[in-house]
C-alpha cells in the first residue's frame, strides 16, 4: 500500500510542481505587463477577422512571433523591426504564436504588406500574387457575381486575367474576408521607446 501511495503521490507532486512553474507563474509574472505601443484591444471587425484566422487554422503555417536580434534572421528578413514582446499579446484571448513557418511570420505583416487589394487577391488565390505558393485558396470567403449586380458598398478584388472569373463576372469580398484583412492589419510591431532594454531583461 505504501508503495502505491508513494507512486501516486510522487507522480502527483511532479506534475503539480511543473504546472505551477510553467503554467501559473508566467501568468502571475506577466499579469501586470503593459501593452506595447500600438497594441490595442480588438474592434468588432478585427475580432471577427481574428475568429476567421483561428477557424481556418492559419496558425499551422504562420507564426506570430518575430525572433529577436541575434536569434534567427527574422529582423534581417524584414519580418519586423524588433523581436516580439509579451506586451504585444495582452489582448490575445487565444494565443497564435505558432510553431511552423510553411509560410512567413505574420506578426508584423501590416507594416510589410498593407495593401488591401494584395491581401484580398492573395486570400482568393495565393498563386495570383505569390507564384509557387502552397497556401490554400479561400474562395469561400468571396463571392463571384455579375459586374452589374455589385453594390457600391461592396469591395471588388482586382485579379490578373489568368485568375479572374470569365465573362463579366467579378470577385467580391465577403464581410469575413474584409474582417480578416482588418485583423491582419492589427499585426504590426511598432518601435519601442526603451531602446531594446527589455530584450536583455527578458
Amino acid at each position: 500500500m505504501t508503495r502505491i501511495a508513494l507512486i501516486f503521490l510522487g507522480a502527483f507532486a511532479a506534475i503539480a510542481m511543473s504546472f505551477t512553474a510553467l503554467a501559473l507563474l508566467p501568468r502571475m509574472q506577466l499579469s501586470t505587463i503593459e501593452p506595447t505601443p500600438g497594441t490595442t484591444d480588438y474592434t468588432y471587425d478585427e475580432q471577427l477577422g481574428r475568429e476567421v484566422y483561428l477557424r481556418e487554422g492559419c496558425i499551422y503555417c504562420h507564426s506570430q512571433q518575430v525572433r529577436p536580434e541575434g536569434f534567427g534572421a527574422d529582423i534581417r528578413r524584414g519580418w519586423g523591426g524588433r523581436g516580439s514582446r509579451p506586451g504585444d499579446y495582452v489582448f490575445d484571448e487565444t494565443h497564435q504564436l505558432g510553431t511552423m513557418r510553411t509560410g512567413p511570420d505574420l506578426h508584423d505583416i501590416a507594416s510589410r504588406q498593407p495593401s488591401r487589394d494584395w491581401h484580398l487577391a492573395h486570400l482568393y488565390q495565393p498563386r495570383s500574387v505569390s507564384p509557387g505558393s502552397v497556401m490554400p485558396a479561400y474562395p469561400y470567403l468571396f463571392e463571384v457575381k455579375k459586374k452589374s449586380n455589385v453594390m457600391a458598398s461592396e469591395v471588388t478584388v482586382p485579379l490578373s486575367p489568368e485568375y479572374a472569373p470569365p465573362g463579366d463576372s467579378v470577385v467580391v469580398a465577403t464581410e469575413e474576408a474584409l474582417a480578416l484583412y482588418d485583423y491582419l492589419m492589427t499585426l504590426e510591431l511598432e518601435p519601442l521607446n526603451d531602446g531594446g532594454a527589455q530584450d536583455a531583461a527578458n
Binding site: R3, I4, I7, F8, G10, A11, A14, I15, S18, F19, A21, L22, A23, P26, R27, Q29, L30, Y53, L54, R55, E56, G57, I59, Y60, C61, Q65, R67, P68, F71, G72, A73, R77, G78, G83, S84, P86, D88, Y89, V90, D92, E93, T94, H95, L97, T99, M100, T102, G103, R127, S130, P131, G132, S133, V134, P136, A137, Y138, P139, Y140, N202
Partner: protein, 503 residues
C-alpha cells in the same frame, strides 16, 4: 500464485497449468473493454490517416478541394492531429493498458461496464470534436483544438477508466508491482489532470502559450509515452523469455521520467517572447531527460541482445522492438533539439513534424500495434488471419515512417538553414521543401495502406471470420520450443479446444 515479477521467466512445470488457468480467467475478463477500445482506436486510426493524406496532398495540389471550407488544410490538419492523439493512440493506450493492468495485478478487470461506457463517451467526444474542428469551431490552440463540448465527453470517459483501474488495483492478487504497473498507474493519474488543467479558463496571451506547451508535450510524455514504455517493459521480456535486464534501473528510469519530463515542453518557445527563465528551465530539463532515456534504453535493448533472431518470427516482438528503438532515438533527438542553436535552426520547420511523428508513430504507435498483436488472440480466443498481411502491415508502416522521418528531417534542416539566411527568398525556400513533401505524401500513403491492412486483420479476428487459423501467427516457422513460455507452441493462455477442461 507466483508473482509475475519477471514476466519473461517461464513458469516451472508444476505451476504450468495453474498459470495458464489464471491468465485465461484474467484475459477473459478484459475481453469486451479491450475489444471496444482497440476497435474504436483502429477506426480513428483509419479516419486520422485519411485526414492526414488530404492534408499532405494539398501541398502538391493546393487548389484541390478549396471550395469546401471543411476540407481546407487549416481544418483538416488539426482534425488529423486530434483524431490520432485523442482517438487512436489514447484509446489504443487504454485498451492495451486495461489488459496489462489486469494481467500484471493478476486480477479480473473490475468495473468493466465503466470501461464500456468510457469507450462510448470517448468515441462521442472525439467525433463531436473532429466534426467541430472541420465545421469551424476549432479553439485554435495546438493539441487542444477540439471545442469544449468534446471534452465534456472525454474527461468523464477518462475518469471512468481511472475508477475501473483503481478498483482493479484494490482487488489485486499480485503482491509485487512490476514496473509497467508504475508507468500505467502514473499515466492514468497524469492524463486526466493534464486535460483538466489545460481546460481551466485562466489563460491568455503569452502565459497561455507556456501552459499550452506544458500541456501538449506532457500529453505526449506523461499520457502516451508511459503505456508505450509499460508495454515494452512487459512484452520484450515476455516474448523473449528472460527477465528485464535490470530491475533497479527501471525504478530510476521511472522516477527520472516523472520528475524531468514535465518541465521540458516549453522548449517549443525557446527564442520566443517568453520570460527567459521559462525557456532555460525547459532546456535544462530536456537535457536531463537523457538519464531516463539511457536507463530505459539499456533495459530494453540489453534484454533483446542475444535474442535478435526472435525478431524474425514474432510480430509482437518486431513491432515492440522497433518502437523501443524509436523511443531511444526520439528522446535523444528531443534533448538535442532543445539546445538554443539547434532550436534556432530547426524550430518552425518540417524537422519538428518529423520529430513528433518519430515519437507518436515510430515509438508509441508501433508499440501499440505490437501489443495488440499479442493481446487480441488472448481476448478473442481466435488467431490472426494471415501472417502475410501482418508482414505487409509491418513493412508498409515501418518503411513508411522511415521514409517520412528521413525526408522531413532532411527537408526541415535545409529549410531551417535557408531561413537563417536572409538572402534566400522565402518562396525559394517553399520551392525547395516541395520534393520532401512529395515523399511525405507517398510514405503517408504507404502507412495508410498498412493501417487498412491492420484494420482488416482486426475485423477478422474480432468477428472470428473463416476457419480458426492453426496456432499462433509467426512470420516464419518457429523452431520447436522458441516461444513455449508464452503459449507460443499453440497452447496459448486462452481456452483452446485441447485445453478446454474447466468451466
Amino acid at each position: 500464485m507466483p508473482d509475475d515479477a519477471s514476466p519473461g521467466v517461464p513458469p516451472d512445470v508444476a505451476d504450468a497449468n495453474a498459470d495458464v488457468d489464471w491468465r485465461r480467467v484474467v484475459d477473459a475478463s478484459t475481453r469486451w473493454p479491450v475489444i471496444a477500445f482497440v476497435v474504436s482506436a483502429t477506426a480513428w486510426l483509419v479516419i486520422g490517416s485519411l485526414l492526414a493524406l488530404i492534408a499532405s496532398f494539398k501541398f502538391q495540389f493546393p487548389d484541390w478541394w478549396t471550395h469546401q471550407a471543411w476540407l481546407t488544410f487549416g481544418r483538416v490538419r488539426p482534425a488529423h492531429l486530434n483524431t490520432m492523439i485523442y482517438g487512436w493512440i489514447s484509446m489504443a493506450g487504454v485498451g492495451v493498458s486495461a489488459w496489462l493492468w489486469a494481467r500484471l495485478l493478476k486480477t479480473r478487470l473490475q468495473g468493466r461496464w465503466m470501461l464500456l461506457l468510457s469507450a462510448a463517451l470517448w468515441n462521442l467526444g472525439v467525433l463531436v470534436g473532429t466534426i467541430g474542428i472541420l465545421a469551424g469551431y476549432s479553439r485554435a490552440i495546438e493539441w487542444v483544438e477540439m471545442p469544449y463540448v468534446a471534452f465534456a465527453f472525454i474527461v468523464p470517459a477518462m475518469l471512468l477508466v481511472v475508477a475501473s483501474f483503481i478498483q482493479t488495483l484494490w482487488q489485486r492478487h499480485a503482491r509485487h508491482l512490476y514496473i509497467s504497473v508504475w508507468y500505467l498507474g502514473a499515466a492514468i493519474l497524469w492524463g486526466p489532470l493534464l486535460v483538466i488543467a489545460i481546460l481551466l479558463p485562466i489563460y491568455s496571451g503569452i502565459p497561455e502559450a507556456t501552459a499550452n506547451w506544458w500541456y501538449a508535450h506532457n500529453i505526449l510524455g506523461l499520457w502516451i509515452t508511459p503505456p508505450g514504455l509499460a508495454a515494452a517493459y512487459y512484452f520484450i521480456p515476455k516474448v523473449i523469455g528472460r527477465p528485464v535486464h535490470s530491475y533497479h534501473l527501471s525504478y530510476l528510469g521511472f522516477w527520472t521520467l516523472a520528475l524531468f519530463y514535465n518541465w521540458a515542453g516549453v522548449h517549443h518557445l525557446v527564442g520566443g517572447p517568453v520570460p527567459q527563465w521559462v525557456a532555460t528551465v525547459s532546456i535544462v530539463f530536456s537535457a536531463m531527460m537523457i538519464i531516463p532515456v539511457i536507463v530505459v534504453a539499456v533495459n530494453h535493448h540489453l534484454t533483446v541482445v542475444g535474442h535478435f533472431e526472435k525478431l524474425k518470427y514474432s510480430p509482437t516482438l518486431r513491432f515492440v522492438v522497433f518502437g523501443a528503438m524509436s523511443y531511444t532515438a526520439v528522446s535523444l533527438q528531443g534533448s538535442l533539439q532543445s539546445f538554443r542553436y539547434w532550436q534556432e535552426v530547426t524550430h518552425f520547420t518540417h524537422y519538428t513534424i518529423a520529430h513528433s511523428h518519430l515519437g507518436v508513430y515510430a515509438f508509441a504507435t508501433m508499440i501499440a500495434f505490437g501489443a495488440i498483436y499479442y493481446i487480441m488472440p488472448r481476448v478473442t480466443e481466435w488467431e490472426w488471419g494471415s501472417k502475410r498481411l501482418v508482414s505487409l502491415h509491418f513493412w508498409t508502416t515501418g518503411l513508411g515512417i522511415g521514409a517520412y522521418f528521413t525526408a522531413l528531417t532532411i527537408g526541415g534542416v535545409i529549410q531551417g538553414f535557408q531561413m537563417l539566411n536572409p538572402d534566400v527568398a522565402f518562396l525559394d525556400i517553399v520551392d525547395d521543401t516541395k520534393p520532401w513533401l512529395i515523399v511525405r505524401s507517398v510514405s503517408g500513403t504507404l502507412m495508410t495502406i498498412g493501417h487498412l491492412v491492420f484494420a482488416y486483420l482486426l475485423a477478422q479476428i474480432v468477428l472470428k471470420r473463416g476457419e480458426r487459423p492453426e496456432g499462433p501467427t509467426y512470420f516464419h516457422p518457429v523452431p520447436e520450443g522458441t516461444f513455449a513460455h508464452v503459449g507460443g507452441d499453440g497452447s496459448r493462455s486462452v481456452r483452446t479446444p485441447s485445453a478446454d477442461q474447466d468451466g
